[in-house]
């Protein structure tokens, strides 16, 4: 603020009556030049597409004929599509499984690693390795691991213990858990690093006090450690939820939505509407609906956790 006010105090005229010359001298032009990249990029690739998405969802658009207004037709088409309930359930199922598998593992890993003074970094490096592998390469590799024949990698390993063989990705019941296990493997390392960074801020003198009050190790973790990193835990949970609701690459490459639509997620449905059927109106309508749900979810989550943390 100081930069702008200094010239205007030198000139007795009020702000609104400043001439273009003083505006130029006070650096008004260079502000605009510096802001230009940001404003242009956001107009073209962020603000513009968001507005255009809202407009498109009320239009019939297949890129060939000129777009025409169709009111709520796209929304009613999307909402009555018989595939939608299945895709919604699949997405919720994916989110739930990802939360069950993917939430405790990195948290446990981080709390444990933070206890190891000398060798902790080694655990860190190894557990972060899967996150470095490009996701597509990891998926192709795991797809091979999930080979349903008895000589498939996972089936061979389980066979040593007399378990299996399983059909994995070919089975409607196992396909989704199989995908989530791979996603957890790929994501746990990065999440645990973030928890670990948060854990360095935990005030350790409280452990002393808790111990003197007779709290065992688990109660110290539960009542001292976790409450202090609650903020980051809640944020990571919300980010994970938002991420899993928009999951695409894993089901697309693992199963393409099959078997029997058991892994068709909402984003896969959007992809099919837009890039297979060429129905951009329906695709954006479903995107807008999903975005609305996610916004409501984050607002509700925000208020719920706020109330929770004050009590």
């Amino acid at each position: 603020m100081a930069v702008l006010t200094r010239p205007s105090t030198a000139i007795p005229a009020s702000r609104s009556r400043r001439s273009p010359v003083t505006w130029y001298r006070s650096g008004g032009l260079s502000s605009i030049v510096f802001a230009l990249p940001l404003v242009l990029i956001f107009l073209y690739f962020s603000w513009g597409p968001i507005v255009r998405g809202l407009v498109l969802s009320f239009q019939k658009n297949n890129l060939v004929t000129t777009p025409e207004w169709v009111g709520m037709a796209n929304f009613s088409y999307v909402l009555t599509d018989p595939q939608l309930p299945q895709a919604t359930l699949n997405t919720l199922y994916f989110a739930l499984l990802a939360l069950i598998f993917g939430f405790p593992v990195p948290l446990f890993l981080a709390v444990f690693i933070s206890e190891l003074r000398k060798t902790g970094w080694l655990y860190n490096v190894f557990s972060y390795l899967p996150a470095v592998v490009p996701p597509v390469a990891a998926i192709l590799l795991w797809k091979f691991f999930y080979d349903p024949s008895t000589s498939g990698v996972f089936n061979a390993i389980l066979g040593w213990f007399g378990i299996g063989p399983f059909a994995w990705l070919n089975s409607p019941d196992l396909a989704m858990p199989a995908i989530v296990i791979e996603a957890t493997w790929a994501g746990a390392g990065a999440t645990s690093i973030i928890y670990l960074a948060a854990l360095t801020g935990v005030r350790t003198e409280l452990y002393e006090a808790a111990e003197l009050d007779g709290a065992g190790i688990w109660r110290r973790v539960w009542h001292v450690t976790l409450p202090q990193i609650r903020g980051i835990i809640l944020i990571m949970m919300l980010l994970q939820l938002i991420g899993t609701f928009q999951v695409f690459t894993e089901p697309f490459l693992f199963t393409g939505g099959g078997p029997d639509n058991a892994t068709t997620t909402i984003l896969l449905l959007i992809y099919r509407y837009a890039f297979i059927n060429g129905d951009f109106g329906a695709a954006t309508a479903l995107s807008v609906l999903l975005a609305l749900v996610l916004c409501v979810l984050s607002v509700a989550y925000h208020f719920m956790t706020r109330r929770w943390s004050t009590t």
């Binding site: 940001l38 603000w47 968001i50 972060y128 597509v136 192709l140 091979f144 973790v221 995107s287």
Partner: protein
């Protein structure tokens, strides 16, 4: 005493003397270590082994410790026949371009919003902040249509690297992180530079940028990781196989090549990021850890 208190964790020295902890803790440590090694290194070693085996070995005995013979020829074959080299090159071009465009947009933007602070600054900040709360899915299809025909300009960016580089730069997160960092630079430094007669451009290049090297590194790292991992977007805007990055090319290639070459190709694709990570692991882990602190 205080130094010891700083060092202590959840488990105290008194705890460590209890037999359950004394023996149980190392046991958990070893078990967890084995688990982490199997999960982290196992698939990579398996990939190395399979990349050097014949297709028959991979299909019939995927869990055999040693293949029937080492096929060194697989690697150069994957490089030339599957053209892994050129796909890796595309990936690097995409990552570097995204990095440059992101850094350019977010440093200049944050400089205006944080240091120059024009009257209309808060409006722009608000508009950038608002996009942070909207999930990315809402703009997927319209962004694709924008690339096909840029409004006003009328150009089609499909099958050019610009289609990947430019949308990358429109990340609200990077701009806000950068702005927050610039906000923390003492105003006295900026005032002093101004009194010395520094122009805005000079202020930007000689004062603000050198002071913000750490955050530039973090944003750069996260951008490169993000663009390396991206799949759907380059799949949509780069249908030309000659321009595709490795992540888009691999699934397409996998359908037509034999399994041994597939595995060598996968290995080569995995090798570079893993080696880079092992060399720069400290910076990597710190950068990723910091990104969490920023989200907070």
């Amino acid at each position: 005493m205080t130094a010891e208190a700083q060092e202590r964790g959840i488990i105290s020295t008194a705890d460590r003397k209890r037999p359950l902890i004394q023996y149980g803790l190392p046991a958990i440590q070893v078990l967890l270590f084995i688990g982490v090694v199997i999960a982290g290194v196992g698939p990579l070693l398996w990939l190395l082994k399979s990349g050097l085996s014949t297709s028959q070995d991979i299909l019939q005995g995927p869990m055999q410790l040693w293949p029937s013979g080492i096929q060194w020829q697989n690697m150069p074959d994957a490089w030339t026949r599957v053209q892994i080299g050129s796909y890796l090159g595309n990936t690097a071009i995409i990552a570097i371009g995204s990095l440059l465009s992101t850094l350019f947009v977010c440093t200049t933007g944050a400089f205006v919003l944080s240091v120059l602070r024009p009257k209309w600054g808060p409006i722009v900040t608000g508009a950038v902040l608002a996009t942070l709360f909207l999930p990315g899915v809402i703009s997927l299809v319209p962004l694709y249509l924008t690339i096909l025909k840029m409004p006003v300009l009328g150009v089609n960016l499909q099958n050019t690297f610009w289609a990947v580089w430019l949308p990358q730069a429109a990340g609200a997160f990077n701009i806000l992180v950068m702005k927050r960092y610039f906000d923390a630079i003492p105003r006295e430094l900026i005032e002093a530079a101004r009194i010395d007669g520094a122009s805005n451009l000079r202020l930007f290049t000689s004062l603000i940028l050198p002071l913000s090297k750490p955050i530039l590194g973090v944003v750069a790292l996260l951008t490169v990781i993000g663009s390396w991992k991206d799949y759907l977007w380059p799949l949509l805007v780069l249908p030309d196989p000659k321009l595709q990055p490795i992540s888009v090319a691999l699934p397409r290639v996998a359908e037509t090549t034999e399994i041994s070459l597939q595995m060598s190709a996968l290995f080569l694709a995995v090798l570079i990021p893993v080696v880079l990570f092992l060399i720069f692991q400290k910076q990597f882990l710190r950068g990723v850890g910091m990104s969490g602190g920023i989200k907070d």
